[in-house]
């Protein structure tokens, strides 16, 4: 198990290395002069030179990258051009809100997705199975920005149950979390169903039924336990997707967070901010995937060997 853990962790290094190169290169890949673009219309020569120096863009590329990595490892992601504050502080202010939204959405997605998927897989009626999967396909196809607007219209504007603009209260979290969760729940429902149907056809399930266990006991104790291994993997992958999806949901609900922050940063061409958020979300995603991989190995010993 330890070698498995060590090997998986080592695999992380080249990926994080690659992620850091891509975020670093972002500013260098900008067509034209990024400094002039950031400063907007007709900046003075001294301003351009000053910002170029501040961003370290007047140094050789490998030196710049070296500095970037060393600084990042020390928790320094540069200075926000708009606010003049450290990017890490800007991110730190908004990260909890995004994490809160993502985690809540994740919980909703798992409960709803596994529930619907199990219902579809174990339903003896082909009609219910097909209907639930059609609903899941609709859920996968839902644009979150549209769903968000519809929920605001019905539950905030018409019924007045929730605030129109999401605030930090629990009530303000409900609509954004549901919006973010539904497409993810739909994916999980499809995966859960497929994986359960697979497991339910295996010999040991038939044995369990043959020895007289009730249907529900077989589903809950035998099938779901094995079927959920696949679901766990997909749920882990979803976490990163939900975090990225917060970009849209936070904007719809006017919520503060990393997502709305990066959208504003792109519109203002504030590259240090953009690079910081991208680096944080991608690294977070990579680490989550590692944790899922390890959990997977813990549950399923066969994985460890290969």
């Amino acid at each position: 198990m330890l070698t498995f853990l060590a090997r998986r962790t080592l695999l992380l290094i080249p990926i994080l290395f690659g992620v850091s190169i891509i975020t670093f290169l972002m500013i260098h890949l900008v067509p034209g002069d990024p400094v002039q673009i950031m400063l907007g219309h007709a900046p003075s020569g001294t301003d351009v030179a000053a910002l170029r120096h501040q961003l370290g863009l007047d140094q050789a590329l490998p030196v710049q990258y070296g500095n970037y990595v060393v600084n990042a490892l020390h928790g320094n992601l540069g200075t926000s051009i708009r606010s003049g504050r450290p990017v890490v502080a800007e991110i730190g202010d908004r990260f909890p809100a995004t994490l809160q939204l993502t985690l809540t959405a994740m919980v909703i997605a798992v409960i709803l997705g596994v529930g619907i998927g199990t219902l579809a897989a174990t339903s003896r009626s082909r009609f219910i199975d097909n209907l639930l999967m059609l609903i899941a396909t609709m859920g996968v196809s839902l644009p979150t920005f549209w769903l968000g607007l519809l929920l605001i219209y019905f539950f905030a504007l018409q019924l007045g149950w929730f605030p129109v603009l999401s605030d930090t209260s629990l009530r303000g979290l409900v609509l954004p979390a549901i919006t973010l969760a539904l497409p993810g729940a739909a994916v999980l429902a499809r995966v859960t169903r497929a994986s359960l149907v697979d497991v339910l056809h295996q010999d040991y399930i038939r044995t369990a039924r043959a020895k007289g266990l009730t249907r529900s006991r077989v589903v809950w104790r035998h099938a779901l336990r094995n079927g959920l291994i696949v679901v766990l993997t997909i749920a882990g992958l979803q976490f990163g997707g939900l975090m990225a999806g917060s970009v849209i949901v936070e904007t719809v609900f006017g919520r503060t967070g990393l997502g709305s922050f990066v959208v504003n940063a792109i519109q203002a061409r504030d590259y240090p901010d953009i690079q910081g958020v991208v680096l944080v979300i991608a690294s977070f995603y990579v680490v989550i995937n590692l944790i899922i991989d390890v959990l997977y190995g813990l549950i399923n010993p066969r994985i460890r060997v290969s």
Binding site: P14, I15, G18, V19, I21, I22, T23, M26, L29, V30, P31, I37, N130, L134, T137, M138, V140, S141, L142, P143, T144, F145, W146, L147, L149, L150, I152, Y153, L157, L237, G240, G241, M243, A244, G245, V247, I248, T251, V252, V262, V263, A265, I266, Q267, R269, Y271, I274, V278, I281, A282, Y285, V286
Partner: protein
């Protein structure tokens, strides 16, 4: 000649031995027997026709500002109502079909071609070429969903063409990975070995023997990919990073609808429904194709 017969005989369903009915017709018949896939195909076809014949179908000019009918309710002359400048929502949705489908098809088409070629090379050549390509794909896949597209938009700047590039580039790694995996499973099979023994060149083996065996997963991925690309592109336009006003783009229309949500629900409901409907169609069709083309299911 010998080689040609071999290729035909080994490519699964051979033309020389098959029934008189052509493959495509049989395939269509099987597709029609799946109601959901058929519904998907019909939806996709309707949107494609709308995209092609849009200007002839639209009841109004999508850019015409009718100041006598600002924020008008849905009615006989404006079935989906009008927006804050009196433009006909239905006509704008019809015009938007062409934009969204073009973005989806061009982005996925480009990603598919580049991804397939790169995946073929990686899988067939192996060695360090494979290692470098796959590590690069791993890194790109380390960016969840929309984030990679956002990185590319941040580099290139907002705009519809840049969204197309962003969505296309971020779709490439999936094709690389899928095609490479398929190549690895096909590469060592007897018919490829036989072709090699007969003196076929690497390029020829890749092109005529391996590629036709990986087309099924690519077609399924691409169908589902167009839907996903349309969603992502509309999302980016909604964020103000894609199509800019006054382009009749569905995502951008929803962005404008936000301000008038209280007064004019129709500004938000119909463009979003159009996005969802076309994506549902593509997903149903893609699922159906997967069930038909993948013999391991069923």
């Amino acid at each position: 000649m010998q080689e040609q017969i071999l290729a035909n005989a080994t490519a699964g369903e051979s033309t020389a031995l098959s029934q008189p009915r052509p493959r495509s017709a049989r395939f269509l018949r099987r597709l029609i027997r799946r109601p959901l896939a058929l519904i998907g195909a019909v939806i996709v076809l309707l949107f494609l026709l709308t995209a092609v014949f849009g200007p002839m179908l639209a009841p109004h000019n999508p850019d015409y500002l009718d100041y006598s009918a600002v924020l008008a309710h849905p009615s006989a002359s404006y079935p989906f109502g009008t927006d804050d400048t009196g433009r006909d929502i239905l006509s704008r949705i019809i015009a938007g079909a062409r934009i969204s489908l073009t973005v989806g098809l061009v982005a996925v088409g480009t990603a598919m071609i580049i991804g397939t070629l790169v995946g073929l090379f990686a899988g067939y050549l192996g060695g360090w070429v494979d290692q470098v390509i796959m590590r690069l794909a791993d890194v790109l896949l380390a960016f969840p969903d929309i984030l990679l597209a956002i990185v590319i938009i941040a580099i290139l700047g907002p705009g519809l063409v840049n969204v197309m590039i962003a969505v296309g580039v971020s779709a490439i790694p999936v094709y690389v990975r899928t095609v490479r995996a398929a190549v690895l499973s096909v590469r060592e099979q007897e018919f490829v070995e036989a072709a090699r023994a007969l003196g076929a060149s690497s390029w020829r083996i890749m092109w005529s023997h391996i590629l036709r065996n990986v087309t099924a997963p690519i077609i399924v991925l691409a169908t589902l990919g167009v839907g996903l690309s349309i969603l992502t592109a509309a999302g980016l336009s909604f964020l103000g990073l894609g199509a800019q006003p006054p382009t009749p783009e569905w995502g951008d229309m929803l962005n404008e609808a936000q301000t008038y949500l209280q007064q004019a629900w129709w500004m938000a409901v119909f463009p979003g429904a159009a996005i969802m409907l076309v994506v549902i169609g593509l997903n149903l069709l893609g699922d159906g194709l997967r069930d038909l083309l993948d013999p391991t299911i069923n």
